[in-house]
Structure formats: structure tokens, C-alpha cells
């Protein structure tokens, strides 16, 4: 088991390396000259050369790539923003916690609301409740989140004045952004839970449990829920990683100083070190979440656990099961 975890942890390294290369290459190939952007109207050939050397942009593709990776590994240095000249790590330290708080709150809400609703609608399949819930979920999943955000803002912020329009100063000001993050997620998780639950409650072992004379509630709790949660762990892991990365749209509209707005202003300003850094950070979190998901998997699903314990680990099997789940 330990060996498996270790192996899995080590696997993060090549993946992250791959991500760095992809992201770096994309921005490297991007037209537009960062030195020009920085110098702007202050352009002279000498200043250009000096700035290019300062930024290490005179080294060619591989030189730059190696330097970039080296700086990240040795000094956790993602470079400085072209736009603000503030070290990117410093901004991460200030912004990521904000996005994470909103993201985790949203994830919790999504789980608290989405899971029970999904289970309810699976258990009461074909009832009016099921139809209303699935229809609502479909509709919420189909509304672009900025429409939802702005509507919420106009109604609760401006018309009714119940909630603050922007910022994160008071308890109340968290409500709208968290909700705007939550609703589409609830819809997704609900649908996913419903499908998985439907599949689980049709399994033979649920019938076995019924034939034992167990109460429906016990069957749900003890036999169905855990089996239903196993595939959902993957989805939740991905969701946590993505939600905590901060939503560009929601953070922009509610003017929250998180990762989303950082990335957004970086995109507008073609601030490539920031774009690279954000993508890397988020990809790293996704990797770590995937790792956690795989380990959790091994802990809650004895079938997978015993595969590793026998040390006949074939990743293929895991990937297939995951692909099927997805």
C-alpha cells in the first residue's frame, strides 16, 4: 500500500513537468512581444536588449524553459508579473486562500445540497419530485454562470439591497458569490449522484439486502450510499480542484481578489508569466487532488485496495474503472 502511494506521489512529478512544458510552449509560441508590452512607449533598442536580458528572454526556447523550471523548483519563483512587477508567488499567497475559501464553501454546499437531492430523486424515481429536481438541474446546468451572477447581483444587491454588491467584507457578502459558484455545481452533482444511485440500487446486492429484511433507510445508508460514493469521489476530487482554482467569471463580477481575477487581468494584459503561473498552480492542485482521490479510492474500495496489497498493481485497471465511471 505504502509502495503504491509512494509510486503515485512520484507520478505527480512527470505530470507536472509535462504541464510546465505544454503551458510554457503555448505561451512561448504566442505572438506578441512581452518586452514590448513592458516597455510600451518607452521603447529604445538599448532598453529593449537590457529588458530582454533581465527577463532572460534572450536565451532561446530551451534555455528559457530550463531556467523557468529551475527557478520554480529551487526557489519557488514563478517570476514577476510584467504588469505589476510583483512576484507571482506573493500574489498567489494573497489570492489563493480567498479562492480556496470560496471554493471549499461552495463544494461543501454542493455536497450538502447536491448529494441528498440526487439520492432523493433516484430513490423516488419517476415521481413528481424526481421530475422537478432533474428538470431544475438541467436548467441550472444550462444557464451560463455570469447570467446567474448578474441576475443575483441586480436583484439582491441593487433592487432589494439585501446583500452587498461586491467584496468579501462581511458574512453577507459571501452569500452571492458562493451561491453563484454553487448552483451550477449542485445541478451537476445532483445529476451525477442520481445516475450513480440508480445504478447502485439496481444492483443484486441491494436486492440481497432487501431479502434480509433490512429497512430501506438502512439499505440506503449502509449498502447503497457507500457504493454510490465511490465513483463520486473522483468527481468530487476534480470539482474541489476546479472550484478552489477560483472562477474567473464569478470573481470578476463580485470583484473578489482571488485567482480568477488575477488570471483574468493577466489574460487581458497578455501577462504571460502570470498566466503560466496560474495554470501551473491549478494543474498542480488538480494533480494533488487526483492523487488524493486515488488514495481515497484505495482506502474505501476493498477491491482496489487488495489489488495493491498483492503488489500486482496495474494502473490500467484503475484507469479503466475511472474512465467507466466518468
Amino acid at each position: 500500500m505504502l509502495r503504491y502511494i509512494l509510486k503515485r506521489v512520484l507520478w505527480v512529478i512527470p505530470v507536472m513537468l509535462g504541464v510546465v512544458i505544454i503551458v510554457f510552449t503555448i505561451t512561448y509560441l504566442t505572438p506578441g512581444d512581452p518586452v514590448m508590452t513592458i516597455l510600451g512607449s518607452g521603447y529604445t533598442p538599448e532598453r529593449y536588449a537590457a529588458k530582454a536580458a533581465e527577463l532572460g528572454l534572450d536565451k532561446g526556447y530551451f534555455g528559457q524553459l530550463v531556467a523557468y523550471i529551475w527557478n520554480i523548483i529551487t526557489r519557488l519563483d514563478f517570476g514577476k508579473s510584467y504588469n505589476s512587477n510583483i512576484p507571482i508567488v506573493q500574489e498567489f499567497a494573497a489570492r489563493y486562500p480567498i479562492s480556496v475559501s470560496i471554493g471549499l464553501l461552495s463544494c461543501m454546499l454542493i455536497a450538502i445540497i447536491g448529494l441528498p437531492l440526487g439520492i432523493l430523486s433516484a430513490v423516488k424515481q419517476y415521481s413528481v419530485l424526481d421530475y422537478s429536481l432533474t428538470t431544475l438541474a438541467l436548467i441550472f446546468a444550462a444557464i451560463p454562470s455570469f447570467v446567474l451572477s448578474i441576475l443575483g447581483l441586480v436583484i439582491f444587491g441593487v433592487k432589494l439591497g439585501w446583500l452587498p454588491v461586491s467584496g468579501l467584507d462581511s458574512f453577507k457578502s459571501w452569500i452571492l458569490p458562493v451561491l453563484a459558484n454553487t448552483l451550477p455545481g449542485v445541478a451537476g452533482i445532483m445529476r451525477m449522484t442520481r445516475t450513480t444511485m440508480l445504478e447502485v440500487i439496481r444492483q443484486d446486492y441491494i436486492r440481497t439486502a432487501r431479502s434480509k429484511g433490512l429497512k430501506e433507510s438502512v439499505i440506503l445508508r449502509k449498502h447503497a450510499l457507500k457504493n454510490c460514493l465511490i465513483p463520486l469521489v473522483t468527481i468530487f476530487g476534480g470539482m474541489i480542484a476546479h472550484t478552489t482554482a477560483g472562477s474567473i467569471i464569478v470573481e470578476n463580477i463580485f470583484n473578489i481578489r482571488g485567482m480568477g481575477t488575477y488570471l483574468y487581468s493577466a489574460i487581458l494584459a497578455r501577462d504571460y508569466p502570470v498566466i503560466n503561473g496560474c495554470v501551473l498552480l491549478i494543474a498542480f492542485v488538480v494533480c494533488v487532488m487526483n492523487l488524493l482521490v486515488d488514495i481515497t479510492y484505495a482506502f474505501i474500495d476493498p477491491r482496489i485496495r487488495s489489488q495493491y496489497e498483492k503488489k500486482r498493481v496495474t494502473r490500467k485497471k484503475i484507469t479503466t474503472t475511472k474512465a467507466e465511471v466518468a
Binding site: 440481497t208 434480509k212 429484511g213 476493498p302
Partner: protein, 322 residues
């Protein structure tokens, strides 16, 4: 009073555009301690009948349209959910067809057995586990394996676990739904033998659902042949095996290879079972019956006693024309 008496049971499955009549007006009786074999092709309604007894038919789309299921004189279709739960696993329990999927993959087998004991026998966790270990031993599995998960067991062993669960509370009636179909032939024999032994030990009546007449011959006292949702022939094992009257029963026997009889070649029953969503008028077997006449196509056939304890649903057989 019989242990179980099914009267005029009808079960339907209603889908968006059709009504599937799975069981039609079925009568069945099982005496205490006895074994009844319920035989028929896939789709004849055997499993549906079994699930109806435990009221485990999924609703919707399934629906019990009518009839009575009297268990020790109590109509199971009318008792409350709580009462029904007290009966399930305790007085009537069931072994399912596929042991591979019948066990919860993420719960230890010991716990899966102990669960039913604790539920019905009002005992502590420890006592229940103790009894579960005993049950495991009874079905021939070393008790220390109780901490294992189902995927660590082979198919035959899983079925033993299922049997252990079913017999854990010494039920009065055991429904075995093709308990050996999914198993290897050698394992089949072991499992059957064990079931027979345990049946004696616990003095349990059994409803053995199968399409394998060989198994019936080995285990049953009575046999009921089912076709398209109804019984076509019923009698003691000797009567049915030595004097099958219904053309379908005859066909079934013709379809089994036999060593001791000198048969040139197998005679499979031609054709398929009628679509349960559109059953024919008259005899349900008419399309495949070599003796079918116009009358068979017109009239519904009555289940008639042709000799004591031997019923047949075929007018021509009753009249002795076959």
C-alpha cells in the same frame, strides 16, 4: 395448513407502451419441510413468482395485480411493510441466481452474515458475529475468512456465503433462484449436496427454481412446470418424471441428453416463448405444440387434476388424446 399457498397470483410489468404479463393466475402450494421444484425456460416468470413471495418486485414498473400469497395462513400481500421485513430473511429467505453480484463488494462477508442475524435474533454484535462464523463453518468456509471481502472469494464460495446468509436465521422457507446456474459443474454438485444437507439440518421447506431437470430430480419432492407465466403441470417428482402429460413437459424431457435412455438425437422444442406483452388467446403453448388443434387456439386451458396430486393444463392431455 400448508406452509405457503399461492392463489391466483398475477404480476404485470407496465412500461410506457406495453403491459408485460409475467405471471398469470398462478396457484402453488409448499408444505413444511418439503421441496418444490419450479421449472421453466428463461422468461417463464419463475423469478418473478419468487420475488413476489418476498414482495421484492420493483414498483414501478412491476405490479402485483391480484391473488393471495398465504404464508402460514397470513396473506403476505396484505401485511404491513414492517411485518414483511420481519418475515424476510427470518422466515423466508432467498438465494439469488448470480453469487458474483449478490454480495455487497465493500462489506466484509462476516458482517454481511451477521447483519441478518442481528436484525432478526435480537442479539448483540458479538453474538451475531459468533453465529455468523458458525454459519460460515457450516457452509464449509474457514471462519477466519469472515474478514475478507467478497471479491477475494471464488464463485462457489460466494454462493456458500449467500447460502449462509439465507439460512442464518433458520427460515421456514428457502427460495433458491437457480442457485447453481452461474457455477461450474463440479461446484454445482457440491453446492447442491450442501443445500440438501442443510435443508435436512434446519428442516427448511424449499422452493427450488431452476431450468435444470437434473437438479430437480436430485432435490425436489414436487415439481411445477411453468410456461409463459402459468403452471402447465404439477405433481410429485415421480409422476412428472415417469408420466409427464403436458406436451411442454414432454418437450423438456426430450431436450435433455440422457445416458441411460437410448435416444437417437435430442429433440429441442421448436420456436420461442410467446411475447409476454402479447400472449395468444387460448393455450399459450399452441404455437410450439405439435398436438395443437383449433380448440386449443380458441379456449383457455384449465388446470385440471388428472390423477390425485397431478395437475395438467392441457385439455387434450386430460382427455387422454396425447
Amino acid at each position: 395448513m400448508s406452509l405457503l399457498e399461492i392463489k391466483h397470483l398475477s404480476v404485470q410489468f407496465e412500461t410506457r407502451d406495453s403491459v408485460i404479463k409475467a405471471v398469470n393466475d398462478l396457484d402453488l402450494t409448499i408444505e413444511a419441510g418439503q421441496t418444490l421444484g419450479l421449472v421453466g425456460e428463461t422468461g417463464a416468470g419463475k423469478t418473478t413468482t419468487a420475488l413476489s413471495i418476498l414482495r421484492l418486485i420493483q414498483e414501478p414498473p412491476g405490479r402485483i395485480k391480484g391473488g393471495e400469497i398465504l404464508f402460514e395462513g397470513k396473506d403476505l400481500l396484505k401485511v404491513s411493510n414492517e411485518e414483511m421485513r420481519a418475515i424476510r430473511g427470518n422466515e423466508i429467505s432467498m438465494i439469488f441466481q448470480d453469487p458474483m453480484t449478490a454480495l455487497n463488494p465493500i462489506i466484509r462477508v462476516g458482517e454481511q452474515i451477521a447483519e441478518v442475524i442481528r436484525l432478526h435474533e435480537n442479539c448483540s454484535k458479538g453474538e451475531a458475529m459468533e453465529k455468523a462464523l458458525y454459519m460460515l463453518e457450516t457452509v464449509g468456509i474457514r471462519p477466519e475468512r469472515s474478514m475478507d471481502y467478497p471479491h477475494q472469494f471464488s464463485g462457489g464460495m460466494k454462493q456458500r456465503v449467500v447460502i449462509a446468509i439465507a439460512l442464518a436465521c433458520s427460515p421456514k422457507l428457502l427460495i433458491a433462484d437457480e442457485p447453481t446456474t452461474a457455477l461450474d459443474v463440479t461446484i454445482q454438485a457440491q453446492v447442491l449436496e450442501m443445500m440438501n444437507k442443510l435443508k435436512q439440518q434446519f428442516n427448511t421447506a424449499m422452493l427450488m427454481i431452476t431450468h435444470d431437470l437434473g437438479i430437480v430430480a436430485e432435490t425436489c419432492d414436487h415439481v411445477a412446470i411453468m410456461y409463459a407465466g402459468e403452471l402447465v403441470e404439477y405433481g410429485t417428482i415421480e409422476r412428472i418424471f415417469h408420466n409427464p402429460r403436458h406436451p411442454y413437459t414432454n418437450g423438456l424431457f426430450g431436450a435433455i441428453p440422457s445416458l441411460d435412455k437410448d435416444v437417437d438425437r435430442l429433440r429441442p422444442i421448436p420456436g420461442l416463448m410467446p411475447d409476454p406483452a402479447a400472449l395468444p388467446k387460448g393455450c399459450k403453448f399452441q404455437e410450439r405444440c405439435e398436438y395443437a388443434c383449433d380448440k386449443c387456439r380458441e379456449n383457455a386451458q384449465m388446470f385440471t387434476e388428472i390423477e390425485p396430486g397431478h395437475f395438467v393444463r392441457c385439455e387434450r392431455a386430460v382427455r387422454g388424446e396425447i
